[in-house]
Every structure is written in C-alpha cells, then in structure tokens.
Symmetry: C2
Amino acid sequence: MAGHGAGHEAGHRAEREPRRRVTIADVARHAQVSTTAVSKVLRNAYGASPAMRDRVKAAIEELGYRPHAAARAMRGRTFTIGVLIPHVRNPFFADVLDGVGEQLGGSGYQAILVQGGSTDLAAESRAIEALVDRQVDGILMIAPITPKSRLEEVAGEMPLIVLGRHERSSAYDAVFDDDDAGTELVVRHLIELGHRRIGHISQRNAGRGKPVALPHLTRAETYRRVMTEHGLAGEIAIATTSWTEEGGYDGTRELLARSPRPTAIFAGADQAAFGALSALHEAGLSVPDDVSVAGYDNTRLAAMANISLTSVDQDGTLMGRTAARLLLERVEGRTAAMRFSVTPALVPRLSTGPAPGSGAGA
Amino acid sequence: MAGHGAGHEAGHRAEREPRRRVTIADVARHAQVSTTAVSKVLRNAYGASPAMRDRVKAAIEELGYRPHAAARAMRGRTFTIGVLIPHVRNPFFADVLDGVGEQLGGSGYQAILVQGGSTDLAAESRAIEALVDRQVDGILMIAPITPKSRLEEVAGEMPLIVLGRHERSSAYDAVFDDDDAGTELVVRHLIELGHRRIGHISQRNAGRGKPVALPHLTRAETYRRVMTEHGLAGEIAIATTSWTEEGGYDGTRELLARSPRPTAIFAGADQAAFGALSALHEAGLSVPDDVSVAGYDNTRLAAMANISLTSVDQDGTLMGRTAARLLLERVEGRTAAMRFSVTPALVPRLSTGPAPGSGAGA
DNA sequence: CATCATTTGGGGAACGTTGTCCACGATCCT
DNA sequence: AGGATCGTGGACAACGTTCCCCAAATGATG
C-alpha cells in the first residue's frame, strides 16, 4: 500500500530527492552577471551600481534564492546567534527568550537554542561545543554552570554574553539581576510582617570545584546577611534542593520538620515556591495564615488569582533584550566589556501576611 | 582603566583574536598521514588500517580536534537535527524535548531549537527556513501551523517528522496523541459526574486558509460529538481564545457570562485551565463545588496538591522519544512514511466533582 | 614465478560562499 | 592633453570537509 502510493507519486511528480538548491551561481547566470556581483548585492558591499543591484535583486526574487548558511559559515558571518539555556521548563527563561526575540526581530539574525541540562556540567559542555562548532556569530549563555575559565576560552573564539552570573570578566559581557537588592526586599518584607523564623530554599551547586557566581549563591548569602542584621542569625534555616516544583516540595518538607517550624518560607525561585505551596497544602497548613511564602522571578503563574504569590520581579524580557543588543554590538565589533544589571522590585501578593501571633497587619 | 587592563593582557597572554581552530589538516600533519586518512577515521569509513586508526585517534585526542560542522554541511552530514517549537512557555513541550534529548543522547546527533511563534505564520516560516538553510540532517516540527503543502515541500528537501498533527501524508512521519479518545474521556467523565452545561475553551486557528489538523480542532470536534451523543447538543458552549493562562482566563469569563452559567469547564490545555482556575477564584466561585475544571496535557503543575487539576495525560516524553527515533531512522535512509499515536489516559483529581444539585458523588 | 584480487593510503575536485585584487573605462584636475 | 582618481564589474583563491578515484604494496592463486 505504502509502496504503491509512493511509487505512483515518484513517477508522477518527479520526486527525485536531490532537487538541488538555488545557489548564488544560478542567480548570477540568470541575471547575466558574475557570482561576485551577486555576493556584493547580498552583502550590500561596495562596488555595485544601482542598476546592477536591481537586476540581481530581481533574479533573487524570481528564483527564490536564499543564502546557504553553512557555506557562509566557511567564510564570513552566519547571521546566527546561539543561545544556551539550562532547561526549557523554567518559565523565567521564556521571558528572557521573548526579549531576545524582540531585539533580534528585524536584525537579520536568527537565534538557535540548545539545552544545557541545568545541573549536568558535561551536558552543558557538549551544548557549548555544539554552538562553537556550528560557527555561530555569537553566544548568549543563560545561567551557565561552566567554570569562568572555560567561559573566557569561549569568549576568545567568539563574542559571548553571560546572563545571570555575577563574576566580572574582561572577556565577555554580563547581564544580571541585582539579586542582592531583590533578596533584601523579600526578606525585609517578611521581617516587617513580624516573621522571625524564615526558612530559605536554595539550590545545590553543580560540579565539584569552586561554585560559580550564580544567583542562588547571592540570594542565600544576602538572606543570611539580612537575617543576621536583624538579629535573627539564630533563625537561619536553609534547605538546599533544587529550583523546581519537586525541589520546592522537598525543601519545604525539610523546613517543616524543624521544631518550631518556620512561619515564612522564602523560595529562591517561583518554581520552587509552587512546590512549597503544594507541600504546605498537603500538610494542612494555610497560606499565609500559618505560613507565608515568597518566591523570586515573578513568573506569569505567580500573578494568577488563585495562587497570588508574593515574588520579586526581575524583568526577564528586558534582560533578554539587553543581552541580545550587547551581543549584536559585540558581533559588530565592540571589544570593551560591559555589565548590565536590572533592578528588581518586590510584588507583594496574598501569599505573605503577618506572622501568626504578631501584632503586625495589613 | 579598561584600556590599561586590556592592553596589559593583550601583551601578556597573546590575546590575538583569531586563534585558528585545529582542523583536519593539523591532525593529519601531526599524525603524519593525509587528510583523507583522518576523514576516513572520523567517519569510520572503509580503507584505514587499525594501526592508522589508532595513530589518528591519538592525534585527535592530543590536539583536541573537533570537526567543523559548517564545513561538514557543505558535503555530507551535519549531525544536527532541527526542532521547531511554537513557544518555550508551554510546559508540555518541555516534556517532549526531554524525550527528544533522551533518544538523541548517545547518537552523536545534536538538537537545535528554534522558536516559531505559536500563532504567527510568517514567523514560523522564517524559523523553518532558518533550519533548512542551516542544512540540518532532519527536522522535527512540534505542532506547526504551516499548511500541509509547505510541509511536504520541506519533506522533499530533508527528513521531516511532524508532532501533534493529524493529517496523513506520505512525505513525512506523524506522531500525535489520540485527541479524540482523550477528549472523549474527559467529557464523559464530566457527564458521568452529572454535569450538563459543560463549556469548552478552544484556540483560534492561525492563518486565513483552511485550518490545519492541530489538536484543538479534534478536541473541539470530539467535545461537540460527545455532548451531542448524550443529548446535550443544546448545551454546547465554546469560547475560542488561546491556550495560555490569559486565554483561559478570558475564555472562562466569557463562559461565565452565560446564563445559566456552566457547571463545568473543559479547557483544551492545562495552561488554559490554570487561567480558568484563576478567573473562577476571582469570581468567588469554588472549585469543584460551584464549577468543575478539567485540562489536557497533565503538566507537572496539574499534579501539585494545591492545584490538583483533573487532566488528560498524553506522555509527551514518549512522543518526543518516538519522534526523534523516527527522525533518525529517516536520516539513516528509511523513506516509507510512518504514523505513531499515543493513547491518552484520564487523570481525575480534585478540580472535578459532582455537578451542583446532582445526585452523583464520590 | 606470473597474474590477479584485495588492502592500504593519498591526490584532488567538489560544496557555496566571501573578499581581495586587478582591469577597464569614464571623469576630473591642472 | 596628460596624468591621476574613481566607479564598476569580474577572476580567483580561500574556508574545512567528503569522497571518488587511482597507485602502490601486499597476499592469494594458478
């Protein structure tokens, strides 16, 4: 049956697989000019008269020519930028990608994404190599776990922007959230509501060496600092799991096992906060009456009325847009390193309230 | 300051930008063989003695050689497969990608993703072209909105798998969920709980021409059919928005405006169901006592205790794994078209319950 | 020991672009 | 009028692979 159908079609509409692509040479022949001329028109290069430009453009249009990216890669630009993303499951990254898309819109550059695998350093390395081997014009890495030395190596080969890490490097640009400020906002918010036993859910460091400067480090550190500054050093309680629903769930159960249990939980990311809400619900505790919960990232879901999660907004779209802009600048030739930091804002919602038994109230 | 630092480093560690990549020729020189020999070893091709293989492999190791994908693309394989994804925000796609990643794991193939833009046909076309122009070895399209004729054109140029569409084509393979069965499960579930006024949230068709066979069509159609079969043709109420939180929210408000209002809402996707829950909460209605809500996709969040959304599970990971396997088979030479359909299962949770005033109960 | 088959290794022409260099003719300045 | 300058277009050598050939060496067969 399949054989019959296929055979028929093969005979009928010449289904010969290798129907060659239209190349620059075809265009040149059709427009009666040299391939060089066509290339010049394509690149808007110097040395082509308006008359010739029109002729070539017409031929391109007629033949439906599209440049062959792989061939371009052998010489000049690819007009491709590579984006390394830890995992597509995190909705915050979707915001970032929206920003990247916006900025790249009319630029003629195309973004290709590869998944790095969040916590698996080997997988991330392979993903980075894949990008480098594919000769992209520049790379944007979102929260990579790769050591700084390797990042600088990559930056030596092609323009690089790192989003979400705090280290300072002269080899690449950095775009990040002021996690210190953001964390201070949430923790103070909870303290002002009268909470003293405030737990925190953090993330495990990837790899074995010195941990890289990812947001979870800053957030945990600032949490410690603010607690200490308010005389709550003794109440510090950190559950180190992962910033996923499961991680938030497990971390919350770990924190609830303490006695007395915390009256507030600051999850380092909204995704973990969702898991926390679920664990609290399961434990029969009410939010925020028994336990307050705050997240970070202000994802779309946090704003839903039935969730109404207090969170910290860090404008991922702006970060993505900026990162893309910086990368294009680098591709166009800038070499001086730049750093861009967005200022976060607290978005109080219904998941946080006065500590049980405290006088503070809305 | 930047000038000083940069200047210093430049002098110190020879920061000359174009530090050439190691090529096949370098390896050949180092191993004292021809480039042909190296290429043979790389491709496991015939015509190389074990001794030579070892020598070349050692040289590759020593020099840290990695093949240059762009150069490869000019001749043979790229060892890259392209994945078109409507938008990374939908968590169901994350499951699919997990499956793709699993299957591609040790295969030597690398997946690159491009975002199509969900609802914007022009954007999706550009994304597809980007993949074709980059000479990937095969393409996996997830729920594309592009017309079938164009898909067949692409399939003429390279192996293609389409995930999530129901049309039959001899040019490409299809992997999809049995949406008809899944929808029947939910709608019957609601009817068995005593509901009669069951609203449905569907998605707008993209583009102007004949709509393509995407899941929302089947789901809406089956919803209609099952309602009619149970004598509820008069109760059919469809809000056509989009399968996002916002879409679910708007659609629910639209459905609630009817009088009498529905006692159950079947959202065509979990994301829309989340929006529905939010809208109901805002309207002061309780779930499931006043209104039951069911989704589709069984995303991670649906299982969280505080959400507990009844949904239809359609093993996205299996779909992704299968799609990747089929694509590799095609890349390796298979030409006969295949179709693979996964059977969905109902996952009842707390968001659905007996219709108010009905005798049915748990 | 001559002949033929098989194994082993390499030469070199693609693949589709880019960009440097050169030639030609027209225009401009003294 | 003679030289310099400029604007226009093309020839051609890369870029890093693959793979079709062919040559030489080796082994098998009569």
